[in-house]
Symmetry: C2
């Protein structure tokens, strides 16, 4: 899936900011692609970028209208359909993170056909993948792994992309979830792939590259999550990760959505090395990323210092304190 | 997916026995369900059961016509479509292991609709599953795991079902692959499930049961297979296995379809315990099943004796020497 940029951000008439979470994520990480927003009457979200009509968006070079919002009840409201059809008529592609497929709505499917525009359903890949092969491929790859779901794996990979590029590395974020796909304009929502093709899809997402090129692959789930560990393992094998960063949220007491307790950071390091060595025997940890949002700064710094001492790895909160130390470690461990 | 039994086995006009592999597997393990076969002119396969017309099959109580054959090129031949439509008209459901969905062929979809018959595409589940929860459920479960794909995991689970039932256990085979689904009339081709739902699908396939009931769950792939380990891990977590049997094929030098070398039996035991303990901390191995078909009997017996000595587990070839010793071990380790 390759989505043409830049984007016109469609916010519809969502009742709050949370319903536009994906749109905010895209605008946070790719402000240069978010040329403007299209809001309908009653919309309570605002990305703080120019409000544009479809005609203005096209004139400013927009290529795709992104539906980066969720709709209550899973049914696409009729007045959104009207606006999506109008966007296609104006010459824009439309990309959606909704559960419902754009092409399943006859008016949208017909308009796309008639005007020769592409529809992208980011949650549903249309790509067919071969099964993973596990054959070592050139290029360097880093995977963010986690003690749980939703602990900052996407954010850490994006922060590393930014931090490494600033330091002169040739580095690309590789998306494996829907918000990530919008942010990079490419990728696969890996949890929506048929089970047989998880590692194959990752081999496609992060293909062979120049020897010093880094792919920074967004992790999913956790090897210790009873719902999603299969996805995490296929992702690890497909990534053939040279390096990994363990992401953690210190205030959580149970794994997200289930009764299981959290693994320790050390358990995640050990099992990631053990399983990851199947497709890359040289796999190693290069850092720990902790979401310390819930902690006052002195407590956050103390926690990170302790993690550094215990694990012998740079530990940081990428949002609060940056990723410099992890980039230093990568530079030291993997000389060009 | 619950397929009504007994079956009329449709063999079409396949050119050889291999093209009817699934049908042979069903007839080997469920001869009591295979009332007869329907063969077209030129068919080179023969299950050795009565040739029946559709009318005779219905009169003998058949409920479902099973298309347990593969078609060259992936396109359903027109004369097979005609026969499938006739079966629906006669009052039979139709179940298929083909890649192409029965319902995607208009003549078949219309006939099923008109006559109120069910179509089952065993490779494609229509069931929607919740994500796995990992919450411990009652009943006992054994999973067959492997050093590789195609090393006898289905066969071992079926042999254990038969052997345990003969010894008075309340035991059911649980299918996770297409041939297994036909054999048990129920189950899910787990590798065709969307990645997020692997463990959830297994929780559905092998649900909570009486405390002394055993589910014998057909394994898939291997935790060491770079293409399919994600499926294997989700299966292990969803199974919450109390016990597992390691299946092995001693003459293989590479993992099926890839360059990776095979793990040792001990590596499979160790990683299965380590990962399986996430959803069942009491998981333990109860046997080793080796496919010794390629070895002369004295060599096979020597290999099994050595495996028993090294691992302290009963080792057998289920086809050649039965599963008595493994059933003994299960009885000893898990008293009622």
């Amino acid at each position: 899936m390759q989505i043409a940029t830049p984007y016109l951000m469609f916010l519809g008439d969502v009742p709050d900011r949370l319903a536009a979470k994906t749109a905010y994520g895209i605008n946070d990480w790719r402000p240069e692609w978010c040329v403007g927003q299209l809001r309908m009457e009653g919309c309570a979200a605002d990305l703080g970028i120019p409000d544009l009509t479809l005609e203005e968006a096209v004139a400013k070079g927009c290529r795709t209208m992104v539906v980066g919002v969720v709709n209550a009840g899973g049914v696409l409201p009729e007045h959104w359909v009207t606006e999506i059809v109008a966007a296609l008529r104006s010459g824009l592609d439309v990309a959606s993170g909704l559960h419902v497929r754009l092409g399943s709505i006859p008016a949208i499917a017909e308009a796309a056909e008639r005007h020769g525009r592409a529809l992208h359903d980011v949650r549903h890949t249309t790509e067919t993948f071969p099964t993973g092969k596990g054959t070592k491929r050139p290029g360097r790859r880093l995977l963010t792994v986690g003690t749980d779901c939703s602990v900052g794996k996407k954010y850490t990979a994006l922060a590393l992309e930014r931090g490494m590029r600033e330091r002169g590395f040739d580095a690309d974020f590789r998306a494996t979830g829907q918000t990530g796909v919008f942010i990079s304009g490419r990728g696969v929502a890996i949890d929506a792939v048929v089970a047989d093709f998880i590692s194959g899809a990752v081999e496609w997402v992060a293909p062979a590259a120049e020897p010093n090129h880094w792919d920074l692959i967004e992790g999913q789930g956790s090897l210790f999550h009873p719902s999603f560990a299969g996805v995490s393992l296929g992702l690890l094998h497909g990534a053939q990760a040279d390096a990994f960063v363990v992401c953690h949220e210190p205030t959580r007491t149970r794994m997200r959505g289930v009764e299981a307790s959290l693994p320790t950071i050390q358990e995640v390091i050990d099992l990631t090395i053990r399983c990851g060595s199947l497709t890359n025997p040289a796999i190693r940890p290069v850092g720990i990323a902790v979401n310390t949002q819930a902690l006052p700064e002195p407590q956050a710094r103390a926690l990170l210092s302790e993690a550094e001492a215990v694990h012998g790895l740079p530990a940081t909160d990428p949002v609060r304190f940056g990723v410099e130390d992890i980039v230093d470690r990568i530079a030291a461990e993997f000389p060009a």
